[in-house]
C-alpha cells in the first residue's frame, strides 16, 4: 500500500471485532481515514460507535482485526511491542478523559517523565517542562501533585505531558468529558492555540458539541463506520 509522504496516519479498511462473552461484536467496520500534519480533527459519534477503539488503534494501543495502520508511512502491524512503545514515546502524545497523571509525581515530574523515558538529561527536561507548564498557564503548580489540582489543571498538565516529546500527533480521547464547560472552553482554546501557533496535530474523540464546533475536520462514526467526513467545518 502506498502512502502519501505527508500523511502522519493512514488507516486502511480497519476492522475490529471484540468477543463479548464469546459473541463477536464488530466495533469497527472497514474504517478508512488519514491524518495530515496540522490537522485539528474530531471523531464524533454516539457512545459505543467505536471512537475510542479507533483512537486506540491509531495510537498503537490496540491492534486491528483486519486492515492496516500506517504511521509516518510505516505499517505498525509488523512492529514488536518494544518498537510500538518507542513509536508512542516519540511520535504520539495521549490526552485521556480522566487525565491519568501519575499520582506520585508532581506536575513538573509528570511532564518530565516522558522526556526521561527518551533519555533527555535532567537539566534540559526540567527547563523544557517548566517552560511548557508556563506556556499552558500552570507554572505555579509545578510542584503540586495531581490530587492537589483541579480537573482542568490536571488536564493542562496532561496536555503538557502529551506535547513534551514534540510528537507528530496528539490523540485526545474525550478530553473535556470530565470538565465543566468554562474549563473545557479554556482547554480547547489552549489546544487550538497549540495547533495554530506550534503546528501540533490533534485528533479528538468526542461527542461534546464544544469540541465538535472547533473541528477543522469532522468524522462522524456510527456503528463502527464513518458515515460522514467533513473538512473545514
Amino acid at each position: 500500500m502506498n502512502t502519501n509522504a505527508s500523511e502522519i496516519v493512514r488507516v486502511d479498511n480497519v476492522r475490529k471485532v471484540y468477543s463479548d462473552n464469546g459473541v463477536p461484536v464488530d466495533a469497527l467496520r472497514g474504517i478508512n481515514m488519514t491524518v495530515l500534519p496540522g490537522d485539528f480533527s474530531v471523531i464524533a459519534g454516539p457512545s459505543g460507535s467505536g471512537k475510542t477503539t479507533l483512537l486506540n488503534i491509531v495510537g498503537t494501543l490496540d491492534k486491528p482485526t483486519e486492515g492496516a495502520v500506517y504511521l509516518d508511512g510505516e505499517d505498525v502491524a509488523s512492529k514488536t511491542r518494544r518498537q510500538l512503545a518507542d513509536i508512542r514515546l516519540r511520535k504520539i502524545g495521549f490526552v485521556f478523559q480522566a487525565y491519568n497523571l501519575n499520582p506520585v509525581l508532581s506536575a513538573l515530574e509528570n511532564v518530565e517523565f516522558t522526556m526521561m523515558l527518551r533519555g533527555i538529561d535532567a537539566a534540559e527536561r526540567k527547563r523544557k517542562s517548566l517552560a511548557l507548564l508556563e506556556e499552558l498557564g500552570i507554572g505555579e503548580l509545578a510542584r503540586k501533585r495531581p490530587n492537589e489540582m483541579s480537573g482542568g489543571q490536571q488536564q493542562r498538565v496532561a496536555i503538557a505531558r502529551a506535547i513534551s516529546n514534540d510528537p507528530r500527533l496528539v490523540l485526545a480521547d474525550e478530553p473535556t468529558a470530565n470538565l465543566d464547560s468554562d474549563t473545557a472552553v479554556k482547554l480547547l482554546e489552549l489546544m487550538e492555540k497549540l495547533n495554530h501557533e506550534d503546528g501540533i496535530t490533534f485528533v479528538f474523540s468526542s461527542h461534546d458539541p464544544q469540541v465538535i464546533g472547533r473541528a477543522h475536520r469532522l468524522l462522524i462514526l456510527k456503528d463502527g463506520q464513518i458515515v460522514d467526513d467533513k473538512v473545514n467545518v
Binding site: 485521556f96 491519568n100 499520582p103 515530574e109 516522558t114
Partner: protein, 404 residues
C-alpha cells in the same frame, strides 16, 4: 527518576509496606540471631575443648594419638625440647604424663584419666584452674590431687580427704598413690569433669615407674592464628617418629561439626529467603494489580517493558533494603552487648554442659553473617518481585487502561 517513583510508590500504601518491611526485619533478626548464637556456641565448644585439655598443638610419639597407651609415650624428650627451644618466645608449652586408671575412696571408685601436670605450666595452657569451685589448684605438694565435684560426689569425698589412684605400668604391674583432695573443679562439660583428675607429673611418674616419659607436649601459640604455621615448622624440625597434631586433628568431630554448620546455615538462609519470596510475590502482585490502570497509562506514553520491570524490582529492592538495614541495626543492637555480657542459659545448664558448651553463650556476629543477610534478603525480595513484574508487562495496554 525511576528510583524516585519506586520509592514514592512504596509510600503510597504505608500500612502494606510497613507490614512487609516488618516481616523482612523479623526475618533478618531471626537470621542474624540464629547465626550469631550458633557460631558463638560452636566457637565456645571448640575453645572450651582446646582450653580444657587439648590445647592448640600437641606433640606425641608417633602412634600415641591412635593408641594413647603409656608404652606409646615419649621416652626421649630431648628432640622435642630442642625443636621447641626456638619458639619459646611465641608459645606456651606444657608437658603431661597421662594414663587411664582408677580413683577410689572408702565409699566408691571411678575410672578416670589421670593427668600428671606441671601446675605452673599448665595454668598458661589450660583453663581447669579457673574452674576451681572449692579448695585450691595444685599447690606443689606431691600428693595433691584436684577432682571434679561430680567425682567427689560419686566418691563421697571432700577437700582434705584421701583418695587412692592406681593404674597399670608398662610391664603390667599396677602402681598406686595415695593423694589428698585439695580442690574441686566444675567446668562447662559434665562428661569431661567425670573423667579427669589432675596431680603433679612427678607423682604420676612415680606411680607408673615412668621416669622421664612424657605423653604429650602441649604447645599453645600466643597468637592462635599461627597454629598451622607453627605446627608445620615443628613437623619439619622433629624426627619422623614424632607426630605434631593441631586441634583440628585432635578434635575432628567438633571441627567437622563447625564446618557442617557453615553449610547448614545456608539451608536456614534458604528457608527464610523462600518464605520472604512468597511474601513479596503476594504483596507485589497486589500492588501490581492495584496499579494495572497506571501501567496501562505508562505503556501508552511509551514506557518500555524493561523500565516497568526495573521500576517494580526497584520497589522490591527498596523494601528489602529498608527491612534489612533496620533489621540488621536491631539485630546488632541486641547481639553486640550480648557478645560481651553473654546470654545466660542457666535454665538449660544440664543439657548445655553435656555437650561442653557452658551455661553462658556469647553470640558472635561475624562480617559474614552481616554480609549474608545484607545480600540474601534484598536479593530474595528482588527475586520475589520478578513474577509480579512479568505479570505487569504481560498486560495489554488497552486492557490495562480500561481497568479501574
Amino acid at each position: 527518576m525511576l528510583s524516585r517513583i519506586a520509592w514514592r510508590n512504596i509510600l503510597r500504601n504505608k500500612r502494606r509496606s510497613f507490614i512487609l518491611i516488618l516481616s523482612i526485619m523479623v526475618g533478618v533478626i531471626a537470621l542474624v540471631m540464629t547465626d550469631a548464637f550458633s557460631i558463638g556456641m560452636m566457637r565456645q565448644m571448640l575453645t572450651n575443648q582446646i582450653g580444657a585439655d587439648a590445647g592448640y598443638i600437641q606433640i606425641h610419639r608417633k602412634g600415641y594419638h591412635d593408641d594413647p597407651a603409656l608404652k606409646n609415650s615419649i621416652v626421649n624428650t630431648a628432640p622435642v625440647r630442642a625443636a621447641l627451644a626456638s619458639d619459646s618466645a611465641f608459645v606456651h608449652i606444657s608437658e603431661r604424663l597421662r594414663t587411664f586408671g582408677l580413683i577410689s575412696s572408702a565409699s566408691n571408685s571411678s575410672g578416670v584419666s589421670i593427668v600428671g601436670i606441671i601446675p605452673q605450666e599448665e595454668e598458661r595452657i589450660t583453663t581447669v584452674h579457673k574452674y576451681i569451685v572449692e579448695g585450691t589448684y595444685l599447690t606443689g605438694k606431691p600428693d595433691d590431687i584436684i577432682i571434679s565435684t561430680a567425682t567427689a560426689e560419686k566418691l563421697k569425698v571432700g577437700i582434705g580427704d584421701k583418695v587412692v589412684i592406681m593404674a597399670s605400668r608398662i610391664g603390667g604391674s599396677v602402681g598406686s598413690e595415695a593423694c589428698r583432695v585439695v580442690g574441686l573443679f566444675e567446668t562447662f562439660d559434665s562428661g569431661f569433669d567425670q573423667t579427669h583428675v589432675y596431680i603433679p607429673i612427678a607423682t604420676v611418674e612415680r606411680m607408673l615407674a615412668a621416669g622421664g616419659r612424657v605423653s604429650e607436649f602441649v604447645v599453645n601459640p600466643m597468637d592462635p592464628k599461627q597454629t598451622d604455621s607453627i605446627a608445620r615448622q615443628l613437623r619439619s624440625r622433629l624426627p619422623a617418629d614424632f607426630e605434631v597434631l593441631t586441634y583440628k586433628q585432635m578434635l575432628p568431630l567438633l571441627v567437622m561439626q563447625i564446618q557442617l554448620y557453615d553449610q547448614i546455615i545456608y539451608i536456614f538462609y534458604a528457608i527464610i529467603a523462600i518464605a520472604l519470596i512468597f511474601g513479596i510475590i503476594n504483596t507485589m502482585l497486589m500492588a501490581v494489580m492495584e496499579r494495572t490502570h497506571e501501567f496501562g497509562i505508562d505503556m501508552a506514553i511509551g514506557m518500555s517493558n524493561k523500565r516497568i520491570v526495573l521500576m517494580i524490582l526497584t520497589e522490591a529492592f527498596y523494601l528489602g533494603a529498608v527491612g534489612t538495614i533496620v533489621g540488621l541495626a536491631i539485630a546488632l543492637a541486641i547481639n553486640i552487648p550480648l557478645s560481651h555480657s553473654g546470654w545466660n542459659l542457666a535454665a538449660f545448664s544440664d543439657s548445655l554442659k553435656s555437650v561442653g558448651i557452658g551455661t553462658v553463650i556469647y553470640p558472635v556476629v561475624g562480617a559474614s553473617t552481616v554480609l549474608n543477610a545484607a545480600v540474601i534478603i534484598p536479593l530474595a525480595t528482588v527475586i520475589g518481585a520478578v513474577y509480579p513484574a512479568m505479570r505487569a508487562i504481560r498486560l495489554q495496554p488497552v486492557e490495562a487502561i480500561r481497568a479501574s
